[in-house]
Amino acid sequence: MGSFVARPTFYEGEILPAADLVASVNYPRGALARHERYLHVWGIASGLTLATTSMTQGSTPYVQVTLKAGIAIDGSGRELVVPTDTLLDPSGLASFGPEERVWYPVFINGVDQSAPATSNPTGCGNVSQSTSTQETCTVSYGMPGSAQDLAEQAASNYSDGAGSGSWTVLVGFVEWSSAAQQFSGVAYTDGTTSVQYAGAAASEVVSQNGSLLLATHPAGTTGANPVMGLQIQETSKGSTLLFGQLNSAGNITVALLKVSSSGDLTVTGQISGAVAPGSVQVQSGIAYDGMTLPPPPGVNLSAGNSAVQTHVSVHYDNLVPPPGLTIPVPIPLECRVDESTLQVHCQLQWFDLKNPSTPIIAPASCDYMVIVSAPAS
């Protein structure tokens, strides 16, 4: 059980011990940490990217990796501030005996360091002591897979302030070049775990200006992908919900999806998905013996989708006799579809009227129609 949150108070004539002054500083710091911890999601808030510079060692290429300045919030609500760009030291990873083509996580942790002592002590005694604590960060590497359980680090008590820095934040992954004994690449995911960015924990988000925007990056960000946005806005011509690409000014000028305040839906692409109650969707074409019929676009007929009814109709299509028959005559053998798997069974028996013998059974193609319907609710 945690202790109560203590707010320092003072009275006239009180002799102030250092501990009371420290508590005066710690109180707002703790309040801020609790705000960050419970109203936000921990992660990188800004910057802290891994920049690479291509280098060569003889003819062996490698990269220098720089952790760019930035700020993160750890799971205790503590700020992790990297004030300047920091060149990563490959010797720290070399001690792992790293393998190539494996992603090694790069972590940062908060560290408190006492600032150098003041040079002009004025109190009793003649001892110089530090009068501030520098909140710094350390960079470390982990073994592959060690970034998977970062969300399960020890949680704080409700009354706790900022943590001591034991909470680890992932900033990216590096790859190793054995030939150069240097880094060979960086990434923000190893395929399983990705860098986590700070977020908001809120059950309600309310705008004050009649417009609310969610965006995948700050407007104007240049990267591999377009910045997408989702915006709810009030206008005198009717309110709308828009989804589309965000321009550099932070506006969605071409909405890929638009919902008006009257409920009208406008999309520029196709609508696909499960069959709506009361609707019917159809697929048709030509299929060959043995294959599974394709359903209408967007319809999943996998096992368990009991909400829809499927009707299938097939009949023989263009009949092509097997080679070697002089006067081929086809006789139907089977032209059906397995209702549970939609597998086509389409075969013919071919007779040669010029050389009557045992008929040849051959696969064939068929016209098909798949009708998928869902009862109106």
Binding site: Q283, G285, Y288, D289, G290, N318, I361, A362
Partner: protein
């Protein structure tokens, strides 16, 4: 009707095993055959004239041994897809198989000898083997010898007569029955 057609073909030998059309194409065309194969694609081939068994072969090929692509519609290919192989150049296109099935061995004895004139760009074969139409299909593939015939041994199988589908580049699929002693 779409101007495209879907092609399912063997990954190791490029033999087209099925073609189909659909009136409504999905927004994102599939890149793998799983949607059209289910638990396995069934190949029920025309038997070779030497096959005397009354049991109908029903070879099942899993999706991992198949590929899927869409190409421009050709009704002739939709009607008789197994007369074609996939030329996987740019753009990929089905091509008519020029050699007759008779170019492949008809002997029902093990080992099987495959000719040494495959399509140079794809020098590998595949064999589908099953004891009967209701038994599981064993799929195997291997490299074709470029300078001599390739001998394929079935001696690891228990004694019996097996349905064998020969898949050799340059030749149509061919079903023979092979006796393993």
């Amino acid at each position: 009707m779409s101007s495209q057609m879907g092609i399912l073909y063997l990954a190791d030998t490029n033999h087209v095993v099925a073609a189909f059309t659909r009136a409504a194409e999905p927004a994102q065309v599939e890149t793998v055959p799983d949607s059209f194969v289910g638990a396995g694609y069934h190949i029920r081939p025309v038997p070779d004239s030497t096959v005397t068994s009354t049991d109908r072969a029903d070879f099942v090929v899993s999706a991992k041994n198949l590929k899927f692509t869409e190409v421009v519609l050709d009704p002739a290919i939709v009607a008789a897809p197994r007369s074609y192989y996939m030329d996987t150049g740019t753009p990929p296109s089905p091509q008519l198989i020029s050699n007759p099935a008779s170019g492949l061995p008809v002997s029902g004895a093990s080992p099987i000898t495959l000719p040494n004139d495959p399509i140079p760009s794809l020098p590998s074969y595949a064999l589908l083997v099953q004891l009967s139409s209701s038994s599981p299909t064993q799929y195997s593939s291997g490299p074709l010898n470029a300078s001599a015939n390739t001998t394929v041994y079935l001696s690891s199988l228990p004694p019996g007569t097996y349905h064998v589908l020969l898949c050799v580049p340059g030749y149509p699929l061919k079903w023979i029955d092979v006796s393993v002693s």
